[in-house]
Symmetry: D3
Subunit: 295 residues, 6 copies
C-alpha cells in the first residue's frame, strides 16, 4: 500500500486455476470512496518493455521506497494522509495488452466517475493510454526521454514506444501533447512530432518552460516516464538515455502542471537499480498530490 494512503485493495482471492487458466474480472464490488480525491492504482504491465525488463515490479518498488518519506510536507504545510488518497492495489496484468488496457481503463474510469483523480503506477508506458482514456483530457503533458510516437513498433501499435501517438491520435478528447525532456526518436517520430498537435521541449529548455495559462480552461493529464531524468538519477528503467533532466526540473514541472491535471502516472520504473528510480517516482506522486490540492 502506498504509505499514507488508505488501503482499498480488493479482498477477494481467486484460486490458482482461476488466476492462471483464465483472467476473470476481479472487480465489481463497491468501495466507499466518498470524498476520496486520489486513487492509487498499480498497473504492472511488462509486455512490450524494450531492453531491460522488470516494470512488473514497478508498483511494488514505488510503494516500498515511499516508506521513509515523512507524512508531512513542509512546502504545502499539509499531511499526505489527510488528503484522501486511497490505494486500490494493482490491476494484475496479463498477456493480451489490448484487453488489459480496456480492463484497466474501466477501473480508472470508475475512479474518475467517482470524482477521483487516478494516480497510476506503471508498468510500462503503455498504461498511460488507459489513464488518458479514463480521464479524457484535452492536453497530454508528458515527461519522457523518448517521443513514443511510433505508429507501430515491432509490429505492435500498443507498444510503449507508440503510446504518445496512440494518445494523440486515438483518444478523442485530446487536442495536443506537450512532451518535456525528449531527446530521441526515430526520423518518422520526429516528423510526426513536428505537427501542430505536438510540442517538444528539449531537456535544456525544460527549466525555462511554463504553461503560461494555456491550461486555463482545459483538462490536463500528466505522465512521467522516469527515463526523462538523467540515467544517473534513475538507472532502474528499461532504456537509459543519457543527457536527461535533473530531478528538480521534473519536480518543478509537476508543481506547475498538477493544479490543472485530473490524472497522473509515473511509469517505466523497474527493479534493476538500488532504488533510485523508485524513490524518485514515489516522491513525484506525492509532489503531484500536494501541488494539486494547493493549486
Amino acid at each position: 500500500m502506498f504509505p499514507g494512503a488508505t488501503d482499498e485493495r480488493e479482498v477477494t482471492d481467486a484460486t490458482d486455476d482461476a488466476i492462471r487458466g483464465s483472467h476473470t474480472d476481479t472487480g465489481g464490488q463497491e468501495s466507499d470512496r466518498d470524498g476520496a480525491n486520489f486513487v492509487v492504482v498499480g498497473a504492472p504491465l511488462d509486455a512490450t518493455t524494450t531492453f531491460h525488463p522488470g516494470t512488473r515490479f514497478g508498483p511494488q518498488r514505488i510503494r516500498s521506497f515511499a516508506a521513509p518519506f515523512d507524512d508531512y510536507d513542509h512546502r504545502s504545510d499539509r499531511h499526505f494522509s489527510d488528503l484522501g488518497v486511497v490505494d486500490r492495489g494493482d490491476v494484475r496484468a496479463w498477456d493480451d495488452v489490448a484487453e488489459y488496457l480496456e480492463y484497466l481503463t474501466s477501473t480508472l474510469r470508475e475512479v474518475v466517475w467517482n470524482d477521483g483523480i487516478p494516480l497510476l503506477l506503471g508498468g510500462e508506458h503503455t498504461v498511460s493510454l488507459a489513464g488518458v482514456r479514463a480521464v479524457e483530457p484535452e492536453v497530454f503533458v508528458c515527461l519522457d526521454a523518448h517521443l513514443d510516437c511510433y505508429d507501430v513498433y515491432d509490429g505492435n501499435p500498443l507498444s510503449h514506444a507508440a503510446v504518445t501517438r496512440r494518445i494523440v491520435e486515438d483518444v478523442d478528447s485530446i487536442e495536443e501533447a506537450i512532451l518535456l525532456g525528449v531527446r530521441t526518436g526515430s526520423e518518422a517520430e520526429w516528423e510526426r512530432a513536428a505537427a501542430d498537435d505536438v510540442t517538444v521541449v528539449p531537456p535544456e529548455d525544460v527549466a525555462e518552460w511554463s504553461h503560461d495559462g494555456q491550461f486555463a480552461d482545459r483538462d490536463v493529464y500528466l505522465s512521467v516516464d522516469i527515463d526523462a531524468v538523467d540515467p544517473g538519477y534513475a538507472p532502474g528503467t528499461g532504456t537509459m538515455e543519457p543527457f536527461g533532466l535533473e530531478p528538480r526540473d521534473i519536480r518543478d514541472v509537476v508543481h506547475a502542471v498538477a493544479p490543472h491535471a485530473d490524472g497522473f502516472d509515473v511509469v517505466e520504473v523497474n527493479d534493476r537499480d538500488d532504488g533510485q528510480a523508485a524513490a524518485l517516482a514515489a516522491k513525484l506522486v506525492r509532489e503531484f498530490v500536494f501541488s494539486h490540492v494547493d493549486g
Copy 2:
C-alpha cells in the same frame, strides 16, 4: 499478501506523527476468521540481527517469491487456497524489542484463541519467542545452524542468539527443545544444550531423524531458521554457516512435524541474495500447511 491466502490486513491507516512519534496499538477490530485454520503474520523485526541485516524485508520477500508457486499441490492433492489460510499482514516492528514481542504475542494469541495456527514470517529469530508464547506448546522443534542458547548475547537476553534459551527456560509450557541441523555455538551454549531438555541433531543425522511417536500427546511448535540449510541454497540470511542441510532434509522434517504442530515460523530471511532464501522459505510455509492438513 501471501499468494492463495485471504487478505485480512488491517485497513486503518495512521498518520505520520502517530506512526513515528509513538506506536499506538493498531489492533483491536475483530476480523471474521471463522473457519480459518492458518493465519499468516509478518514480523519484520531486525533489531539484533548479526552481520548482514535486512530481516525487516523478510516477510515482503517471502510473500513476493511465493508468487510463482502453483495453488495446487500434487503430493497432497489439495489447493492451497482451499485451506483457509488468511494473511493478516505485518506487525510493524519498533525499537523496543521486549515491548514489540509482547504486542506480537498478543496478536498471535488472538489467532490461537480463534483456533487458528499462526504462520509467522520473520524477521529475526527472536520473533519465535512470541510464537511460542502464544501457542504454549510442550515441544519446540527448531531447524537452525545455531544453538541460539546464549543466556545473554551482547548484553541482550532478547537477542536472536538467545531465543532458544528463552523459549526453553522462560516459556512455562515448554518441556523440551529438539534442534535439527545445528552445527555451531559457543562453549557455554553447548554445555546448556547438553542438558536433558535439549536434543541436538547434527546436520549429518537429520535425514535419519524421526520423532518416533514422541509427539503423540504433546503440542509442538516448529521453527525454521533459514540458515539451517547450506548457504548455497539460502545466501540471503544474516549469518551464513557452511556445511548445512539440503533443502529436501528440511522439507522432510516439515512434513514429519507439521501434523503435530500448532504453530510455525520461518525466520532470518533477508533481501541480500537473488531470492533463493525467500523462495525456499515460502515453499516451506506451504509444505507446512499441506502436511498439517493431511496429518
Copy 3:
C-alpha cells in the same frame, strides 16, 4: 558467439526504422554449413515469462559464461572446436509470439534440412515449440520443474507454461513426452499429464531413470528448462521451484539422451543471478554435443 563454435552470424545490418517500424525477414542468404553437425541459435524470447523476466538476455549470458570452459573434454577425449559447431547468432524476438515462433521454426528447419542439429538457447520455454516443429521427433524429453501442460495460461496458448501441451498435442510427429524432475503444476495439468502420452519422473527418481532402449528407433528432442535444477544451483530463472535436481542428475540425463536426440535446447536462463544458471546451461550445451558425437 559460443566459444569454440564457428561464427556464422548474418552480416547484414538493418537500419533503425527497418528494425523498429517492421520486422523484415533478415534471413535468406546461404551459409556453407556443409559438414556442420551442430548449429547454435539464440532465441531471446521474453514475452510470457512469469515472475522474474530477463530471458531476453539468456543467449548472451550463456555464450558469455561458456568462455572459461576448456575446449578439450576429458571424458570423450574430444575438442569442442573439432565437432563442427557453428553459431548463427540470435533470431531477434518481437512482440507477436505466434509469428516469431513461425519465423524461428523456419530458421531451425533450414538447419535440420542441412542435416544439422539445432542447439537452441532460450529465451523462455515457448521457443522449444519451434525446435520441436523443426526437428519433428517422436519423443519429447524435457527436464523441468513444471509440467508446462496448461491448455491456455493467462489466456495465452503460447505461454511458456503451455509449451509441453502444445508440443504433445499440436506437433504431429510427437508420440510421447517424458518429463524429468517435474514437481509442480495445476490440477488440470496433472490430470493431463496422467494420460498415456506423458510420463512424469519426479526429482527423487531421476537419478534412477533410464530410457531402456525405448528410443531405439525413434527420434528424440531434448529440452532443458534450467529451473529443473534446484534454485540453489540456478537462481537466475523466472520461477524458482525448490527441491529440484542436482546438476549431476541433469548431466547424466543429457549424457543418456543425447546420442538419440536430433535437437536440443536450454531455456529459461535470465540475467538475475551471479552467473550460476548461465554457466550450468552453457556446460550442458557442451555435454550434449560431446555425448551426441560419442553416442
Copy 4:
C-alpha cells in the same frame, strides 16, 4: 585502515565468549598519539536505522573506497599522509545504544583531551551525539536531508531521527544548530526547527550560504549525513530523499566550515549501492582534513 592514516588499532584480541557474553572495556592502553591532529574512529552503529539497514558496514566501506585516492591534494598542495591522521579502528557496536554512546563518547573524549580532532565514520546518525559530547562545541553544523528533530522516534529518544534534537537540547555547550540541505521532517520537527537555536538552509540556498564570520570565536562540530546529497550520488543510505544537494555543494560547505571545526563525522553510509556513497564520504573526510589544516 583509512588510506594515508597511521594504524593505531588496538592489538588486543578477545575470545568469543568475552566478545559475545559481555562487552568488556577493550580500551585502556596508551597510544603515543603525540602530535597527531586527526583521529579516525569507526562507529558502525546500525540499531535504529530506518528502511535500508547496513550502516554497520559504513566504516569498512568508507575506508575501502578511499583506497584509490591520491595521497597528494593539489588544491592545498599537501600530502594526506603528512597531516598526522591516525586510524584507531572501529568501536564495535552492541545492542544497548545508550551504553554504546557513552563508551564511544569516552573514546572520542580521550582523542579531544590529547588535542586530536575526531573524524568519526558512521554508522547511523545517532553516533554524532557521541562526537558532539566529546568535542563540546558551541555550534552544530549539519548537512542532512532530514531535520532529525524528533523528540522521540518510534519510542526511542536515541533514534537517528532525534539526533539533532538531542544535540541541541541535551549537550550543554551547544548554542545553535545550522542545518544545511534539509528538505523534510514531521510537522512537530519543523515547529521545533523554527525556534531560535536552529537555522535551516534548504537545498536551493546551500550554494549561496556562508557563515559570515559567525564562527569567529566559537567551536564548531561538522556532521555530514550522506543523505544530504541527491540519491543519484549516494544511493547507499538508509532513507533516500530526492531533490538533494550536489556533491560540490557539500564539498564547499566542508571547505568553509572545516577551519572552524574541532570535530567531524560522516554518517548513514551503507553497503547497498555500487560504492557511490562510500566514495563520496571518504572524499569528504579528506576534504575536511586538508581544509582544516589550511584554515
Copy 5:
C-alpha cells in the same frame, strides 16, 4: 556488435590449445572496408586496473547498452547506420601488455591506413596508447579525473596511470596534451603537468573551455576516461573520483573536438554498476560519430 554498425568480426576460430597455449596472430585477412569511415574495435585490457577490476567486460557492456538508442539522431538529422561504421569486434587481450599494445596498434594502424577513424572501446586507459600510436596526432585531448602522468606506476610504465605521460613523451607526433576534468594526481604528476606540453582544465572550467581554433591545422585524438564524469553518473569504473563533470559537459567537449579528431576512444568502463557507465560511454561514441561527420 555495436548497434547500427556493420559486422566485420573475424570469422576464424582457433581451438582452445591455440588460444591458450599461445596467442597467435589472428588477423591477416582483408576486409572490404572501402568507404567505411569509422571502425569500432574493442580492447578489453584489464591488466593494470586499479581498485575495481572488470574493464575486460567494457566493450561488451558498451555495445550491449547501445541497444536501445535510436538509429536516427535529431540534432544532426542523420542515421547512425548510414555513416559507414563497422565493428571489427574485440582484439582479445593477454597478459603481456607491451606485446598486446603493439598488436593492437597494428590493428588500428591498418584502420588508419584505410582512411578509417578508429573508435576504440576499452578496456583500461592504457589502450589509448595504441590508439594514439596508430593515429599519430599532434594533440591529445583527454577527459579524465586523473592526470595519468606517472612515469612508472607500481613499477609499470605501461600502467593506465601512466598513459598520458607515455603518449606525451613517447609518441613522436604529439605536441601537447589537453586534459579536461582532471581533479587529482600525485605531486610528481602535477609537476609534470605544469610543463608547457600539458594543459589541465579543472572540472569547474570545462563548461567554459573551447579550443578557439587551436586545432586548425592539427590532427587530434580524443580520449574519454569515463571516470571524468561524476561517479553518480558512472559508478561502473575502476576508481571513482567525486566532484566530476556533468554528462552534458562531456558531450559538449565531444561535439567540439570530434570534427578535428582522427581517433577516439572511451575507456575504463566496467561491469560493476547498473549500466550507467556503459550507457553513457555508448552514447558518447555515437555523439563523436555524428559530430565528426557534421564537422
Copy 6:
C-alpha cells in the same frame, strides 16, 4: 583481521608517492610471534585471473565473512582464539608477478622459519607457488576444478592456470601432486597429469578418497581453489565449472590432510557473489586449524 586471530599487521605507513612510484620492501621489523602456530597472510594478487576478476578482494572478503563464526568449535572442543593464530595482514600485490611471488615467498619463509604454519588467503591461485616455495613440502595436495597444468597460459608461465605445473616441476622438494575434484583441463594438461608425479581424483571419487598413510613421513601443503566446489556453493570465483564437489567433501579432505600439512591456502575467491564463496573459504581456514591442532 581474521576474527579470533591476533593482529600483527605492520604499523608503518608509506606515503602515496612511495606506494605508487615504487614498491619498497615494507617488511623487516620483528614481530614477537613466539608460540604462534598459524600465520594468516593475505595475498590479493589479481593479475592473471581469467574471466571474472576480483580476487584482489578475496582476503578482505574472507576475513569479513568469518565474522559471524563462533570462536568455539564443537567437534574439536577448542576455541579458535586459543590456537595461536596471528594475522599479518595483506602483502599488497603489484604488477610484476614474478617479483611479487618472490617477495611473498620471503614473507612466508620467515613464517616457516619461526615454526609457523602459513594460512595464505588468495588472491589468484598463482600465490600457492609462494606458499609451496616457502614450506618446501614433498606433497602438494590441491582441491581444484582445474588441472592448472599448463606450461604457459596466454604466454605466461606464472598464470594461475599453470600453478600446479610450476609447483610440481620447479619446486625442488615436491615429489608429487594429488589433485582432488578436478574435472577439466586442456589435452596437454591431461597428458602432463597422466605422469607418475600427478594423481587426479575426479569429483565423484573424492568422498571415497583417503591418503592411507601415504603422508606418514612426508610434509604436505594443502591448497584449496574454491572453484573445486560446485558453483552453486561458491559463485564468487573467476571461472565457474559445474558438476563440482559438495562443501562437505572439501571439509572432509581438509580434516584428513590438515594433520599432515605445514602450509595451507584458499584461493580464487572474489567479490562477485552474495558471500557464499568467502563464507566457505573462511570456514575452511578454521577447519584446517582445528584439524591440524588435533592431528
